[in-house]
């Protein structure tokens, strides 16, 4: 009986349905449009005369002979050497996530198990650091980094991203470890383990769901960062996002906007698969902080 009521079409339901459908179009359409358009020539994707050109590729067929063209991708990946940026991004993201999680797991565990007042103050400081616009820190980095001659290289950027990531990672893993009963590691310590052994043999085997969820958000922060990477990396070490930004300046004037469009699609594609595979974990991570207050 309950299900019958749930499936009845009431006016409220229809309005809700239309509203959600509208939102879905607004959310998805820009991505589909740009993905499709990235395989066309500029005259089609930016067609003032008729937007249907971008769908049917009128000029693309005229200029290249085919319905699709890989011109934009060839131009950005090979000619403008976007592949370098892709490699740099992979390195930066991999090490940022790895180091953030290692530091964050240890720190988060300690904060969750400590009963002293300073643990609270550290978490509060973390909250304040989390609120700090990243740009405010950049001007503090530049002068020392220039002086020590470490500006522009990948390791510097990685360690800065780890630091900026740390408040969030700590908070998230702290609340995750609070959910693991204290008795678990304490009983191990009664059996003669010290704190490190308890952590190694009891906590590490069961911590992976929380660590993976946190890792996903560290990945996003490192992957999506523009502020730090654009200010701290030299041209040859650029990652994808600042590379796209510098494309805009040079490419637009030469009538090669499609290079930038192709690069943008290339940078979005991994995120698409990322959401596809980890949707459940992302949702649980977003809500974990919220539900616990």
């Amino acid at each position: 009986m309950n299900t019958k009521i749930e499936n009845k079409l009431t006016p409220v339901r229809i309005i809700a349905f239309i509203f959600v459908a509208l939102w879905l179009v607004i959310a998805m359409f820009p991505f589909i449009w740009t993905l499709w358009g990235s395989f066309k020539v500029q005259a089609d994707f930016f067609s003032k005369a008729d937007w249907s050109n971008a769908i049917f590729g009128f000029h693309t067929e005229k200029q290249t002979g085919g319905f699709f063209t890989m011109g934009g991708y060839y131009g950005s990946w090979i000619e403008e050497e976007f592949w370098r940026a892709v490699i740099n991004t992979s390195i930066v993201v991999f090490f940022t996530v790895l180091i953030s999680l290692t530091f964050g797991t240890l720190g988060g565990y300690a904060l969750a198990r400590s009963t002293y007042r300073y643990a609270f103050w550290i978490l509060m400081a973390g909250l304040i650091f989390r609120a700090m616009p990243h740009m405010t820190l950049i001007s503090g980095y530049l002068q020392p980094f220039f002086a020590w001659n470490v500006w522009g290289i990948l390791p510097t950027t990685i360690i800065v991203l780890v630091a900026i990531n740390q408040p969030f990672t700590l908070w998230m893993l702290h609340s995750f470890f609070l959910n693991i009963p204290k008795d678990l590691d304490e009983s191990a310590m009664c059996d003669g383990c010290n704190r490190f052994q308890a952590f190694r043999y009891v906590i590490i085997p069961i911590m992976w769901p929380g660590v993976i969820t946190t890792g996903l958000f560290s990945f996003l922060l490192a992957y999506n960062d523009f502020t730090v990477t654009s200010m701290l990396l030299s041209d040859e070490n650029e990652t994808m996002i600042p590379a796209i930004a510098s494309f805009l300046g040079t490419v637009q004037e030469e009538g090669k906007v499609m290079y930038a469009v192709a690069a943008v699609v290339s940078a979005t594609a991994p995120l698409f698969f990322f959401v596809l595979f980890f949707q459940r974990q992302i949702v649980s991570g977003l809500t974990a902080g919220a539900v616990k207050g």
């Binding site: 607004i26 565990y109 650091f129 405010t136 360690i159 740390q166 502020t227 949707q279 539900v291």
Partner: protein, 344 residues
């Protein structure tokens, strides 16, 4: 946990935060109190039978020496904060005297970069945040009413605008609203105005940036509210239904109070994220009509051949101060909760 074990466990995390967040804040503050050295100028007088001539030249050696002696520059106190790049106190005082009405004064205020950036940042923060909260809640209620098979794909599609890199997301929208892009060209046709451009008018630029902000952040509030809706106690809803509450009344009196703590959490995150708005301004190339505080710092560091460290530092400190004011209510609340918890 013992102090020593705590320290061992948290040392890597704490030291990296100390070195790369706490110390930079202090150094930014010190930076903002100094100003670059002026070049040392040598004035030489050459006299020949026809008269004397003075020439000036830059003494590079002395300038370099000065820089080595005090790499931060000359101590300048809080003068950077009050100059025309920042609070512009002197200029404002004059503007106040010379303007005959308040609106004229506000218009003059808008000429100074810091006030310009502040006005956009605050407007953006306080318009995008409520919109995101409200629309996110509506979508969450809507999705909750969908048949089960549609829920998963809807959540998947909704996550994309939030997950995507802000710069990339704003570029994708920017190309669509461009004069030659699909939305821009269609709008031009509808209004039959070939010069209509979202980029040309300040008001339209602001609206465009805020629409982007709502598009980008709405999934976040939607997901959190949606998760919250799953935890609404069914008994209360049923009891309300038996008492004759309509659907709207159930939402108003049962669901919304239940979701209130979540709304506070979302508001806090949104305020923090919106206050640092930066990438969309780059993506939309909107700096002619809209600048944010983060953009202003970036501009100080980027624009000229020599980064204006003192200006960037002062703007950064003002920003941190703004964040502190924004966060103060939350901090006071958490402190009270903590004290109460310790008492009980």
């Amino acid at each position: 946990m013992k102090h020593s074990t705590f320290l061992l466990f948290s040392l890597p995390s704490l030291s990296v935060m100390f070195l790369f967040i706490a110390i930079p804040i202090v150094s930014v503050f010190i930076q903002s109190l100094h100003i670059e050295h002026k070049q040392v100028i040598i004035v030489t007088e050459n006299c020949d039978p026809f008269g004397c001539e003075t020439t000036t030249s830059v003494d590079t050696e002395a300038s370099a020496k000065l820089k080595e002696k005090a790499p931060l520059g000359k101590f300048n106190g809080f003068k950077t904060y009050s100059n025309r790049m920042h609070f512009a106190f002197d200029e404002l005082g004059e503007a106040w005297k010379s303007s005959d009405s308040f609106t004229v004064f506000v218009k003059k205020l808008y000429n100074y970069p810091l006030y310009r950036a502040l006005s956009f940042t605050l407007t953006y923060t306080f318009i995008v945040t409520p919109f995101v909260l409200f629309l996110g809640f509506l979508v969450a209620v809507g999705v909750n009413n969908l048949p089960k098979m549609f829920k998963g794909p809807t959540i998947f599609a909704s996550l994309l605008p939030m997950i995507v890199t802000p710069l990339v997301g704003s570029l994708i929208l920017f190309w669509m609203v461009d004069g030659d892009g699909v939305i821009g060209a269609t709008l031009q046709k509808i209004f039959n105005d070939n010069s209509l451009s979202l980029k040309a008018s300040p008001v339209l630029t602001w609206i465009m940036l805020m629409v982007y902000g709502i598009w980008h952040l709405m999934p976040f509030s939607f997901i959190v509210f949606y998760a919250g809706l799953q935890t609404v106690p069914q008994e209360t809803i049923e009891a309300a239904t038996i008492d004759g509450a309509s659907k709207f009344q159930r939402i108003r009196h049962v669901v919304i109070p239940h979701l209130m703590p979540l709304a506070i959490f979302i508001t806090l995150i949104l305020l923090m994220d919106n206050f640092r708005v930066f990438e969309p301004i780059i993506g939309f190339k909107a700096e002619a009509h809209a600048t944010s505080i983060s953009w202003l710092i970036w501009n100080h560091l980027r624009e000229s051949a020599y980064p204006l460290y003192n200006a960037a530092g002062a703007t950064s400190m003002i920003t941190i101060f703004g964040v502190a004011i924004l966060l103060l209510p939350v901090l006071i609340r958490t402190w009270r909760d903590f004290k109460e918890k310790n008492k009980g």
